[in-house]
């Protein structure tokens, strides 16, 4: 039995599915962001896996993942700052109850 | 740059300098604002008069070129967009008209409140657009200036207006923008057919000389352009922005709008729609003649039952501007000359009307003629002005309306076909209806007993109001007494158009 490309894609696929499910179902903004992280992570895995298996001599996928992690970190930091700010203003992190900007 | 030696460009530069000057004023220094505005307006009048002299001199010296003072600067070479300048007799008198109305408008908004600086800023931006439109002969530049003239309207009405101003401003802007949309389609279409050999151009004269727009395309493009301009010219059934817009607009804006902006429509119809697409013009003239014929009578009848002074004048504008487009579609020099005279006349007298209405409204705070009466006792100067404006409107010889209308009717009657003649007779019948509604207003508003005792304490016109109205009255009288001076300037400008039409349309006497 060999560890083929396919075998790495499967966990990543499930991770992504879970991320989608979480993103759509959760009400808590932080939970939504956690789901987001899951999706990002699964994508990272795919990049790395494709890079490693299909183009072993090159490092594009790896660097892409590297940058993606950096950006994800930045984005999370900022998003959490916003969430905390919203919480400060509304004492609430439930995304369905923050309707001030609707319409 | 070479273009700065062309006096025409200063018609755009002066209002822009005025804008700049106003930018350095602030709202507490009303005196400075007034000074800047007056200096700008006076400079424009002086320049316009100088332009008339230049034109007469050029024509007197035997310069028979279609446009004088031509020069151009390329803006965007890939599409051949140029800042191309040039004027003929029609543009010259329109510029003169605009300058006088801007002048009168500045004095009519002397006590503008609130935000005088911003008001004059938009006011002069609008003037920039108007002058730019009249001096340019490039489709793109014209369209650009056209839009520059339209957009400030929204703010001027929306901020400084009265009554249901938000609705009116929105309606006016949307309807005129709708017209612009048609217009832009038309202009783009013209551009892409502007030349047979692929050297596409935006220059009106070149397009006209190339005469390359295929006939079946003309049939689409002509209605687009004509309706596009016709909306601004208050052509039935696209006139409904006019009553509401005028009713809500502040005095000077009504003046400028009815006095000049609506003329852009007529001017554009003639300069772009008919000149560039003579085939479609003569094929489709009957549709638009019918519409404008309806405009004339319909506007007049509608005016008969209105009770708001501004509505009456707005509908009367529909009638008079209908006459402009009507005459343009008659396709002969006489009628077209009449159309331009009518534009001049209507511009001045409607500006006068709106100025007077604004002044009366500023005192009585009502525009409903049922609430007023006997104003002649209380404010004789404004009363006399109103009567004069009314008489000009109903076509009293010696004032401008008469010469214009007569030229139109006689020109229209030159056409030998029954359809045009019947329309002419219908159009001519409007002189009676006009008399009815004008006299009705004069009788209700100025004569009779004073309706409201509070009105007895009101004052007559102040000096700047007198100056503003006197300018217009004198202009109206000058056109009325010496129409031939203007006819001589105007009439030659129509030869190219009439010649272009000659292949398709049997013109009597040619």
């Amino acid at each position: 039995m060999n560890l083929t490309l396919l075998m790495y894609l499967i966990p990543s696929l499930f991770m992504f599915g879970c991320g989608v499910y979480g993103f759509i179902t959760r009400k808590n903004m932080i939970a939504i962001m956690i789901s987001l992280e899951l999706m990002l992570n699964s994508v990272d895995i795919n990049f790395v896996v494709f890079n490693r298996y299909l183009f072993p001599g090159q490092l594009d996928g790896m660097f892409f993942t590297l940058f993606a992690i950096a950006i994800a970190a930045a984005e999370t930091a900022l998003a959490l700052a916003i969430v905390i700010n919203i919480f400060r203003a509304t004492k609430n992190v439930d995304i369905q109850q923050i309707l001030k900007l609707k319409f | 740059m070479e273009i700065f030696s062309n006096p025409l460009i200063y018609f755009v530069i002066i209002p822009m300098l005025t804008l700049l000057g106003l930018a350095f004023c602030n709202n507490r220094g009303i005196r400075a604002i007034r000074t800047v505005a007056v200096v700008g307006a006076v400079a424009l009048v002086a320049l316009a008069v100088y332009l008339v002299c230049l034109f007469l001199q050029a024509r007197g010296a035997g310069d028979t070129s279609e446009m004088i003072l031509q020069s151009k600067v390329t803006w965007y070479a890939p599409f051949n967009i140029e800042l191309a300048l040039g004027v003929d007799g029609v543009s010259v008198v329109m510029i003169l008209l605009s300058a006088f109305i801007v002048f009168a408008g500045v004095f009519a908004s002397w006590k503008m409140d609130p935000l005088p600086r911003q008001f004059f800023l938009w006011f002069f931006l609008l003037s920039t657009g108007v002058f730019g439109f009249f001096i340019s002969i490039d489709l793109f530049t014209m369209f650009m200036f056209y839009e520059v003239a339209l957009i400030p309207m929204y703010l001027l009405i929306g901020v400084w207006g009265s009554g249901n101003k938000n609705y009116s401003a929105m309606k006016l802007t949307l309807m005129l923008m709708g017209g612009s949309a048609f217009l832009m389609l038309g202009l783009i279409g013209i551009y892409f057919h502007s030349s047979a050999d692929g050297n596409l151009t935006m220059n009106i004269l070149d397009i006209a000389h190339n005469d390359a727009i295929p006939h079946q395309w003309q049939m689409y493009l002509f209605p687009l352009t004509f309706v596009g301009f016709g909306v601004l010219g208050a052509m039935f059934p696209f006139h409904t922005w006019s009553p509401d817009g005028h009713a809500s607009a502040p005095t000077a804006v009504s003046m400028l709008h009815a006095g000049v902006l609506m003329k852009l429509g007529g001017y554009g119809c003639f300069r772009i729609a008919i000149y560039l697409m003579p085939y479609a013009a003569s094929e489709l003239a009957w549709i638009f003649l019918t519409l404008t014929g309806i405009s004339i009578v319909y506007g007049a009848f509608s005016a008969c039952v209105q009770t708001d002074l501004k509505y009456i004048n707005a509908y009367s504008s529909v009638s008079h501007c209908g006459m402009v487009l009507f005459a343009i579609l008659m396709f002969n020099t006489t009628a077209m000359t009449g159309a331009v005279l009518q534009m001049l006349s209507h511009g001045l007298m409607t500006a006068l009307f709106f100025a007077l209405i604004g002044m009366i409204y500023g005192r009585t705070h009502t525009r409903d003629i049922r609430d007023m009466g006997g104003m002649m006792h209380i404010m004789p100067y404004l009363g006399v002005g109103y009567v004069l404006a009314g008489l000009a409107s109903l076509g009293l010889p010696g004032l401008s309306g008469f010469a214009a209308e007569m030229t139109i009717f006689f020109g229209s009657f030159e056409n030998a076909d029954l359809f045009r003649r019947v329309l002419t007779i219908i159009g001519a019948s409007s002189i009676v209806i006009t008399a009815v509604y004008i006299l009705r207003v004069v009788a209700k508003l100025l004569f009779g007993e004073v309706q409201d005792e509070h009105h007895r304490t009101l004052t007559d016109a102040s000096w700047e109001e007198r100056l503003s109205t006197a300018t217009l009255i004198v202009s109206v009288a000058i056109i009325g007494c010496f129409p031939n001076f203007f006819v001589n300037i105007i009439s030659d400008s129509f030869l190219p158009v009439v010649n272009a039409l000659k292949d398709y349309f049997p013109v009597a006497g040619l």
Binding site: L3, Y8, P11, V20, Y21, R26, A73, A74 | -
Partner: protein, 171 residues
């Protein structure tokens, strides 16, 4: 032919990833959710190690597991009373999420399996990827050089720092 240890390791990690992912999005206690996320991230790092990308794995642990999850925990503690449960999900929403997830897995899974030849590739051995190479690539402007994205990301990070300060600042 892989070593058995490798294969066992793979299965453990794959199962861990799947199980903890599911737990992350299904648990009703938000702090637990963050913890499960941490496990998933660790597992992912191990995957990277397994593929000989040690640097990447290290970054994954340092930034993700070490940085982001800590941020999450802070945020959660700032906004939640400890031990408070989230409200139960509405059935409607759950079905919505489930359908999207299943649909996504189905479509992508089909895509993956339909390219079996492609996916049957085996791991090729490559030269060790040392730090010097990575550093060289990151700061080079040659082919395969990543200086521009590197700088772009650094500016982005700067912007994020400023943004974070501005947003979080008390007015």
């Amino acid at each position: 032919m892989e070593s058995v240890g490798n294969i066992i390791l793979y299965f453990v990690i794959a199962i861990a990833i799947i199980v903890f992912s599911v737990l992350t999005v299904t648990t009703r206690q938000i702090l637990r959710s963050a913890t499960y996320l941490l496990f998933v991230l660790f597992a992912t790092a191990i995957l990277y190690f397994q593929m000989d990308y040690q640097f990447l794995g290290a970054v994954q642990i340092a930034v993700y597991a070490g940085g982001i999850v800590v941020l999450f925990v802070f945020a959660i503690l700032l906004t939640h009373k400890p031990g408070a449960d989230a409200e139960p999900l509405s059935t409607h929403r759950r079905w919505l999420g489930l359908s999207a997830a299943v649909l996504g897995i189905a479509v992508c899974g089909y895509a993956v399996f339909s390219h079996a030849a492609f996916c049957g590739r085996q791991l090729a051995t490559v030269a060790d990827l040392d730090m010097a190479t990575i550093g060289h690539f990151l700061l080079s402007t040659d082919k395969w050089g990543y200086l521009l994205p590197f700088e772009a990301v650094s500016i982005l990070l700067l912007a994020c720092i400023i943004g974070g300060v501005v947003i979080a600042r008390k007015r």
